[in-house]
Amino acid sequence: MARSKVVKKVAKIANVEPMLVRVKVAAEVDRTSDEVRHGANKSPHERVTVNKAYKMYVGGAFIRSESGRSFRVKGVKSTDPEVVNIPRGSRKDVRDAVLVAKNAQVSWSSRTPYNRGQILYRLAEMMESRRTELAMSLVREGQSQADASREVQVAIDICVYYAGICDKLSALLASHNPVAGPHFGFTLPESLGVVGVVAPRTPSLLGLVSSVVPVVSGGNSVVVVVTSVDPRTASIWTECLATSDLPGGVVNALYGQLTELLPTMAKHREVSGLSLWGDLGDLGIAAEADATESVKRVRRYAESDRALDRADGARGLGYVEPFLEYKTVWHPMGM
């Protein structure tokens, strides 16, 4: 903003074409920031920082896109000089992620709910210890320090909530069925399988946590497409996942363009459910239509969903139950 004002001013003074001037002024500005960055006034003891390569998280490993493509992301504040390359996921990345998610889901769902709960609690612990880093990342996206801290706290508390729900789902959702005959019958909730998630654009951390963690608590594995403008917060969160004892492949995070990634996910036969957050326009409708090929369970959540309220988030079975199956078992009774 400030720069464009300068450009106009200079253009007025010089009475020349603004475009030409802009180039000149930009060069001028760069030179100044060059001097700042490369330490014209820096003490010689200040070190050169080690920049982080942000990667996607698939199968418990941090990977670049198989396509080798990337896109550039920058913090919203002009004082933030860092511009980074983020891997841009491809259709093949989606297929690879679904494959590892499929394999991981078998063992994840066969763990005891107690064990799943402990791992999700461990995730909360990992987030707690990275609170500052997560909040800093949100500030980099343009949030105030106070809002950023609040969002991180709520996101952690959401994890704690779902850590404790794993071994309550049966008590809350199962039933003994008093059938009219000499049979013993019961119905239990079971995991659905691989769930494809399109995370909301904002809030970037709480939205990601609220769209992924409840689904995982039910014993599913997830391939999530991160849609926030700056996926760096998501990337830091996947580092929490990686250190939380969550088996590799249970949560897989891809970055990139929805137009490319969502249709592949919606058509994939090994994906059993879709959780679509926010208004995705025609893309969302197309995904719902593609999902019919293998009769996927599709759940849409509005941008206004309570879960995306930065101040509180939302908790409840409504975020878990759509991604569960019910299995009914009958057995005769008698001597």
Binding site: N177, V179, A286, T292, V295, R300, W330
Partner: protein
Amino acid sequence: MGKLSSKIEKKRDREKPAIVFGNQWDYAPAPEATDFFKLNKRYDLFIGGRWQKPRSKSYFTTISPSTEAVLAEVAEADDNDVDAAVLAARHAYNRYWSRLTPSDRSKYLFRIARALQEKARLFAVVESLDGGKPIKEARDVDIPLAIAHFFYHAGWADKLELAFHGRSVRPLGVAAQIIPWNFPLLMAAWKIAPALACGNTVVLKPAETTPLTALLLAELIEECDLPPGVVNIVTGAGKTGEALVNHPDVNKVAFTGSTGIGKRIQRAIAGTGKRLTLELGGKAANIVFADAPLDQAVEGIIGGIFFNQGHVCCAGSRLLVEESIAPVLMRKLRDRMATLRVGDPLDKNTDVGAINSQMQLDKIRELVAAGEKEGAERFSVSCTLPKKGFWFPPTVFTNVSLSSRIAREEIFGPVLSTLTFRTPDEAIEKANNTAYGLSAGVWTDKGSKIFHMASKLKAGVVWANTYNKFDPTSPFGGYKESGFGREGGRQGLSAYLEVV
């Protein structure tokens, strides 16, 4: 199995020659009476509490599949008729049904249950006539279960908050419901009872080959004096169903039928925000372990595949037998099959009735021919089939390969495909190797094996040492391409509610 034991087995086989059944023993006919009622010559549409002539001016006939005799003419609803029905349902929702106290809604449903009990025999006979199913099944299964569904859901109407742990609930509005021809009244009950209990109003379309009991139900609902438009019945075929599904003022679509149509419906309403539940096809594995009580298992296999001529989405149509007992089990199965009586559905001794339609018969024949062509061995019961009507003898295939069409596709007829396995893991692998996931059966004497198998099978209903059991308290519905949502039980309520 060792050489010695197989020798003993062979000896036992020789000692017990198979009894000859088939037409050796004649049963005296025992037909159910049909003289105590008279069907209308022509049925109109039940819209807004009145019988309305179709705006389409078009009627079609419904026949008895066992005699091909015309039973009645039935209105064919077009887009305008469907529009009128949805409008009536919307009006009834706004004006009556949503204003009633839950307790009053409940009492209306109890009324329907009671009235159905009073007319149970009429419904059983018409069901058998119009659909071709044996009277003993209509009488002992379809109608009592339909009644039970109304009775069960009546009790839920004023307890919905309790069902969702204090979360608040609200009805969805107008439900469009499309049901198949295999259990016409029962499916109508599965759809209408929970929808009304949860405070919705409905437009129901019965299948074109079996519309009569739904129309009788409309008459009964009229007698029960439900507010006009709470239940609307529109008859017709696929086009009528399409109009209903695509109507913009419908909030919920519930469909029971084939996976192919189910996918089309899901696609048609993609992005509309309409709520959907689908109860689709199946290709259930019925798994028999060597330690199973074999005679019980044989009864279960017979009931699993020949109940209702195999026109059952959850039919145990893939028999998986542990290899060591396959010869014995198959012999017992063939012996038992030979005692099945195929014929007049209205005869109280009949076990297997008529195939529902010419179209279905053609489909069964096509798949059976494909099975023979693919090298499977066919055994069909030798029985004299009536000259008129649509019939297919109970049939079992052995030597079926997993890739064969008769092992993969839903035949929806009295045709069983048999495969063998050696280990529990192989049984699980084979059972789950299908796009369907509606139901499964497990036969074993070992409790731990039952629970292991039940947890590994990807199916919405698992019957252990039993098969084809249904109850309104027991949620029913599929995994994978067998659809989503449940019918029955507390879990079934969420199909008709917005849970906040």
